[in-house]
Symmetry: C2
């Protein structure tokens, strides 16, 4: 039995760093989502790249499945060992290796979390901007091509990973990219690994781009009469070249949830939450420009704050919105959707989703990274009501169909894992087979996170 | 003979769109660089994606090499048919297919040039920012992962291509990416094709990100006592978060060349040329911030201009600098180098290169996209003096070695083609074999631009 032989070899090579304890297997069999438990056969805690190479060499020899694990916060079951095998938990590879302040880059091990990184960077005047909400590991964020509230200004992981060290499916250690800010030297292997969800290799080191902490930050909130008006204001603002750092939508249902949860007292209307980064003067100018645009689009209650405590309250509310929404229906579980469309289609996508939710009798407040055209309906379901779950899943499926019909994608930032696998053929057509061909070329024995992302081997 | 059979089939399928005229073959056998002529066996001028698919189906059947051609302005011999076969010239696929102003995207055929696109966009208030100097085709710019003077603000082709239509090596038409601004749906095939130099397939359609034309633009020029001081000013400016649209270095030798060529009357010192985009107020603030930083670094003669004619004169000078440098040595040919390093190493890379040039007796004015850490020494050689050419090539080789030793890359924006193939193993190590594995998976018969970018098939 390949898996058992692999584990025996791992134990003889790595000893105590391999565990088969029931609790460890169960923790690593869970996900943040609605997928069923799938405990691996063992969990390994490497401490060095050489150990990761050793793990992959052993697993390749025995054709044992290998699944990378950061903090387990992925939302589409990316880190679940659906075919058993070994989970490689990177929590002990959590060192910041070097900070190059002049180059505005940092090199980290994959287990460093984004909050730990930003804590460490504080004294340098630099920060790492990608913020998916969860305190995810940077290796996991790269694997999922994560983004979040700040992508409208600073981009996603695709834009912020400069170089990687990767252990391939055969146990070879390679480096992709360089510390230079750009390169035309051949295929963009860094870009290929970012978003590959551990199906091509395991990332053991990341070099990331950093940003200078802005001299001034201000936040703003504004209510609109409709989602359409709010989105129109977003489009106008982007077209005016206002370099917003964040621009988030909460629909009326989400606003109700945060009002109930945190006593925010917001008007029961769709709201935009914004953040501006820059010099004192430019932040003021950005906020004023947005204020004028918002007024033209019927916005009300526009208010901007540059006091840190006010900003902090606003973004705490936004980050807690998911929990506020969950609290809106005690005992419910959430199915989180994640479509992304061209911004000109965003109002329509949200309005059609809202109408569908009402027709289907599914509760689903909507939160959106609207500067990117990306939004989440958080579908609240009673996990003991199969009919309700089915209706929610149908809503989710129709959201994806709508996104694809509007020129968008099934996932803006949560990735494929097992949750979105069923949409890949529809979204990519012949491109999905091409992904399968790349996977087969780089992982011929299909040991790297098998059962995810690419077409099943025939 | 595969190639001849392929051409016979192409003629019977595409008739007059296939040519074997001597002049056409010669034109398509040339490059802008120092590589020898390599005329293809035929040139085909497709007018539709279906015709490109037909061409590749025929060439796949006969295992005939296929090389894409935009405007022939690549600098590393990317479009030369080194193993013969068919050149696919995209000049007749030059339509702008759709402009989505609200989404700030445009979809074009690959033969559209960047100047033609910007001309067409003028009325919309949008522009396409990537500017490699040459009026290259957008298909070619994507293939080479081009960038240029504006990458410091707007990124390279990597950052500005959202989606592609591609014809694969087997003649299948696929689409990569969507019109949404971001996606986590599987491998980033768009990113894989950008920079692949026609070795994986031919691009037949591109969806590009656009930018809003800034309300205000100003340009500035400033002299420094040394390259080190100029680079230090660049680093300070970036760290202050000044969103410069362009920041270019000309070393003393380049300044002498443009003074002689265009009577610019600049002080015989290294200069920075800058451009600021934004609102009136923010452009003023950016220029003032830079002015203060420049003063701290010993800058002199700082002057900023917002009159379009003054800006235009400045950037005409910069764009003509290559010709000015060529004119500095009548009859000479240029070997253009293109290394890119972490910006903290840039001054050292330039100073070491300058010292090497002097030791080697090679004339090589330096121009740099210094915000990216990228610079070009334009090595002037007498093409009838083999010894001189050898010394220049040795300088070029040492520049690459220096770039790699400093954590950089052999090419910031010109790509690999045949000119940089010899450095791929050194730059990528095991990653180069990985590129070869991807190539073999997607183009098993090695018909797509063979002899370029990846390791030779064994």
């Amino acid at each position: 039995m390949g898996i058992q032989n692999a584990i025996a070899d791992l134990i003889s090579s790595l000893g105590q760093q391999v565990t088969r304890s029931k609790s460890d297997l169960e923790i690593h069999g869970r996900s943040e989502s609605h997928f069923s438990l799938s405990p691996p056969d063992a969990v390994v805690y490497p401490e060095t790249t050489a150990q990761v190479a050793e793990i992959l060499t052993i697993c390749a020899r025995h054709r044992c499945p290998v699944v990378g694990w950061g903090t387990g916060t992925s939302l589409e079951g990316q880190s679940q060992a659906v075919l058993g095998g070994v989970v490689v938990d990177f929590s002990r590879m959590n060192r910041i290796l070097s900070i190059a302040a002049e180059d505005m880059t940092v090199t980290v091990q994959p287990g460093v979390t984004r909050e730990a990184l930003n804590e460490e960077l504080r004294a340098t005047g630099l920060f790492f901007p990608v913020d998916p909400g969860a305190n995810a590991s940077l290796g996991g964020m790269a694997a999922t091509r994560a983004s979040g509230t700040t992508a409208v200004r600073y981009g996603t992981m695709r834009d912020n990973v400069l170089a990687l060290e990767v252990v391939t499916a055969s146990g070879e250690v390679i480096r992709t990219g360089t510390r230079a800010r750009k390169s035309s030297a051949g295929y963009d292997l860094t870009g290929l690994f970012v978003g590959s969800e551990g199906t091509l290799g395991l990332v053991t080191e990341l070099t990331l781009r950093l940003q200078g902490t802005p001299e001034a930050i201000s936040a703003a909130v504004c209510a609109f009469e409709s989602v359409g008006d709010a989105v129109a204001a977003v489009i106008d603002t982007i077209q005016c070249g206002v370099p917003m750092a964040r621009i988030e939508l909460m629909d009326t249902e989400s606003v109700a949830a945060v009002n109930a949860y945190a006593g925010m007292g917001l008007a029961p209307k769709p709201h935009l939450l914004l953040e501006f980064h820059g010099t004192e003067a430019s932040v003021r100018e950005q906020a004023e420009t947005f204020g004028m645009i918002a007024k033209d689009r019927g916005g009300s209650g526009f208010d901007w704050a540059s006091r840190p405590e006010d900003r902090s309250a606003l973004w705490t509310m936004r980050h807690n919105a998911y929990y506020a929404i969950l609290a809106a229906r005690p005992g419910a579980r959430a199915i989180v959707t994640d479509i992304c469309v061209p911004i000109s289609k965003l109002a329509r996508a949200i309005e059609d989703t809202r109408a569908d939710l009402e027709r289907s009798g599914v509760q689903g407040p909507i939160l959106g990274h609207v500067g990117d055209g990306n939004f989440h309906a958080v579908l609240l379901v009673d996990e003991h009501a199969p009919d309700e779950i089915m209706r929610a899943k149908q809503v989710s499926e129709r959201m994806v169909e709508r996104a694809l019909a509007l020129g968008g994608t099934s996932t803006g930032e949560h990735g494929i894992g097992i949750g979105k696998l069923g949409y890949m053929a529809r979204e990519h057509g012949g491109g999905w087979a091409m992904m399968g061909a790349i996977k087969a070329a780089l992982d011929p024995d299909n040991i790297m996170n098998p059962g995810k992302l690419v077409p099943p081997r025939t």
